[in-house]
């Protein structure tokens, strides 16, 4: 059971673990998370971060670093962790980082007065922001999209009025022109980096304001389209599977309506197959593998169920590798189970297998008609003998218990090789 984090900071009571806040987040939830962790008012933390950012830009960089490396509350992985897990993203991130560092070094080498002490934190934070956008979970993406959408000026009102549109176009155009003018005033290519950056920022802001509605619409359309496509594919997959297996079986059942045991067998097979597909999709018994005790028993269970039309209830506790001795034990158990399925007239055969430190055991039981052990019919004696011989050869033992009209149990056990 996970311990719930408080949604907001409780003043004076620090709280572990350190996570980014969700409910008290404005941007990435770093300040909110820190406030919860330290038990300090959110606003205090925010002011400290702002001051740090203004003083040398370190606050900004620290913020982005925490954004990348701290998992969000309720999430287990940080953005950085997720990004590092994807090879392609990793390559992109490295490439981007090298590009940024290279750019800054070139600026320094040329002795160009850039943004001064702000250059490094600013550009690295920009790179980190791109990383955040690429690595955020869908939930956080929604939060970020909402943030962008509700930002002043970029915000797209639900029903854009003419006045609104006019204001947007006007403001956007003015900013774009201003940016271009700043850039065009430069003398030479590297006339001064400050105006370059300044002009570029103004230009970008202007274009953002002009194009925001169109851009946001495309964005949400794209993600909606992608979601719809995934859903359609998923549905097609399920439909294909249901058609291949379930519908086919239902047709077979309809055709075999007169034959009760055939119907039961078909239904049981289909049930097992469907259950595996639904609940245990990763579980495939590989034929080329040696397998384990349990995997051989499961194979035997389905085989007997489909061949003899009885229900087999298999319970396995523990597991071990299937060596020659264990395979002999399974083979002996199979004979006992087939025997029960054929002769006992019980609808259910119970098989219990257990692996203990020193022994491997197998119990096959039915509540069928049973027989008197003293007067075993000859055709069945052969089987009992063969089970016993098999077990003896491999150093194990077998016991047969049967009572007329109560049932039969075969107990097999094998010492474990250590």
């Amino acid at each position: 059971m996970s311990i719930e984090s408080p949604p907001r900071a409780v003043i004076g009571s620090p709280h572990r673990p350190f996570r980014r806040g969700v409910d008290n987040a404005i941007l990435g939830g770093v300040c909110g998370g820190l406030a919860i962790r330290l038990g300090v008012n959110e606003r205090t933390i925010r002011i400290i971060f702002s001051l740090l950012a203004l003083a040398s830009g370190v606050g900004l960089l620290l913020y982005m670093l925490l954004w990348l490396t701290l998992p969000r509350s309720n999430e287990t992985q940080s953005i950085a962790h997720r990004l590092l897990g994807r090879r392609r993203e990793l390559h992109r991130a490295l490439f981007g980082l090298i590009l940024v560092v290279g750019f800054i070094i070139v600026l320094d080498r040329l002795g160009i007065p850039s943004l001064g002490i702000y250059t490094w934190p600013f550009l690295l934070s920009l790179a980190a922001l791109i990383g955040v956008w690429r690595g955020a979970t869908p939930v956080e993406h929604v939060h970020l999209e909402e943030l962008v959408r509700s930002a002043p000026l970029i915000r797209v009102p639900a029903s854009p009025t003419k006045k609104n549109l006019l204001l947007r176009v006007l403001l956007g155009t003015v900013l774009v022109l201003l940016g271009l003018r700043t850039l065009s005033r430069l003398h030479g290519v590297w006339g001064g980096t400050t105006p370059v950056l300044f002009g570029t920022i103004i230009l970008i802001a202007g274009m953002l304001i002009l194009l925001a509605p169109w851009w946001l619409a495309t964005l949400s359309e794209l993600s909606g389209e992608r979601r719809a496509r995934v859903r359609v594919e998923e549905r097609a997959n399920v439909a294909a599977h249901l058609h291949d297996s379930v519908l086919q079986t239902l047709t077979l059942i309809e055709r075999a309506a007169g034959d009760e045991s055939a119907v039961v067998r078909l239904a049981r097979n289909q049930e097992r197959e469907l259950r595996q597909w639904l609940f245990d999709p990763d579980h495939h018994v590989a034929d080329d593998e040696v397998g384990t005790y349990a995997s051989h028993l499961h194979a035997m269970e389905s085989e007997i169920e489909s061949d003899y039309g009885v229900k087999v209830e298999l319970v396995v506790v523990g597991d071990c590798a299937a060596d020659a001795d264990v395979l002999a034990l399974v083979a002996a158990g199979r004979e006992a189970a087939i025997n029960a399925a054929r002769w006992s007239e019980a609808p259910l055969v119970s098989i219990y297998a257990e692996v203990e430190p020193t022994t491997v055991s197998l119990f096959v039981r039915d509540k069928g008609k049973g027989f008197d052990v003293e007067t075993i019919p000859h055709d069945r004696q052969g089987i009992a003998l063969s089970i016993r011989q098999r077990m003896c050869q491999h150093g194990g033992s077998s016991t047969l218990k049967s009572t007329p009209n109560v049932g039969t149990e075969v107990q097999l056990s094998l010492p474990r090789a250590t």
Binding site: E313, V315, V316, V317, Y352, E354, P357
Partner: protein
């Protein structure tokens, strides 16, 4: 309606299953109502306080667990028997941990289901072979998750006798068969099983709390 018949409430979102159970059991049980979704079930169970609720594990809106959690603290006397189409114990272990007295699969025969309901109504536990196997696995002595200081012998370990009883259940023995086999009374068998149920519900063994928290997150 004869006196002494347990009052039973059905919760299942499949009409066919409810109809099947009702037609099979209505002679031997007093079926006081049924519901096909979580909210209605909670409201009606609290209102009618049946002896036993037959509770489907998988339902939209939180499933059987939501019903169990909402009702159990309001009506502690109502007992729950989980009804699952899947026989994997992982599916029902969270219901058991939440207070259900046992579980049966939907392909159980009529007489066996009746037997299970009567047993739950009497305050006993109902263990299927598979659940017994799961418990033996979860409480295995080789459990790596047990830190020396963390073990509460009353909750985290099974007694040899309880182990014996569970093994026999896993081998397909009925309670009466077990009593005969171990030469003890049926009542003693029942008290062993109830004690295992209590450990299953309260133990902090890693494998158990792990299931519970995993389900909780979903």
């Amino acid at each position: 309606m004869a006196a002494g018949q347990p009052r039973v409430f059905l919760v299942d979102d499949h009409e066919l299953i409810r109809t099947g159970i009702r037609s099979e059991l209505s002679g031997s049980l007093d079926i006081v109502g049924e519901a096909d979704e979580v909210d209605a079930a909670i409201e009606m169970i609290v209102e009618r306080t049946p002896d036993v609720v037959l509770l489907d594990v998988h339902m939209p809106g939180g499933g059987g667990l939501a019903v169990l959690n909402a009702v159990s603290h309001k009506c502690p006397d109502v007992r729950f028997l989980a009804l699952s189409v899947s026989d994997s114990s992982e599916d029902v272990i969270s219901l058991i941990r939440a207070g259900a007295r046992g579980y049966v699969t939907k392909n159980i025969s009529g007489p066996d289901l009746l037997d299970a309901i009567y047993r739950v109504a009497a305050g006993d536990a109902v263990f299927s072979p598979r659940l017994a196997g799961f418990v033996l696995d979860a409480f295995s002595l080789e459990g790596k998750s047990l830190e020396a200081g963390d073990v509460d012998p009353d909750l985290d370990l099974l007694t040899p006798r309880e182990r014996q009883v569970l093994r026999l259940i896993a081998r397909g023995y009925s309670y009466r068969d077990i009593a005969t086999e171990l030469e003890i009374s049926s009542k003693t068998v029942e008290s062993h099983v109830s004690s295992v149920l209590r450990k299953l519900q309260l133990s902090n063994r890693h494998q158990l709390s792990h299931w519970a928290s995993e389900r909780h997150l979903n």
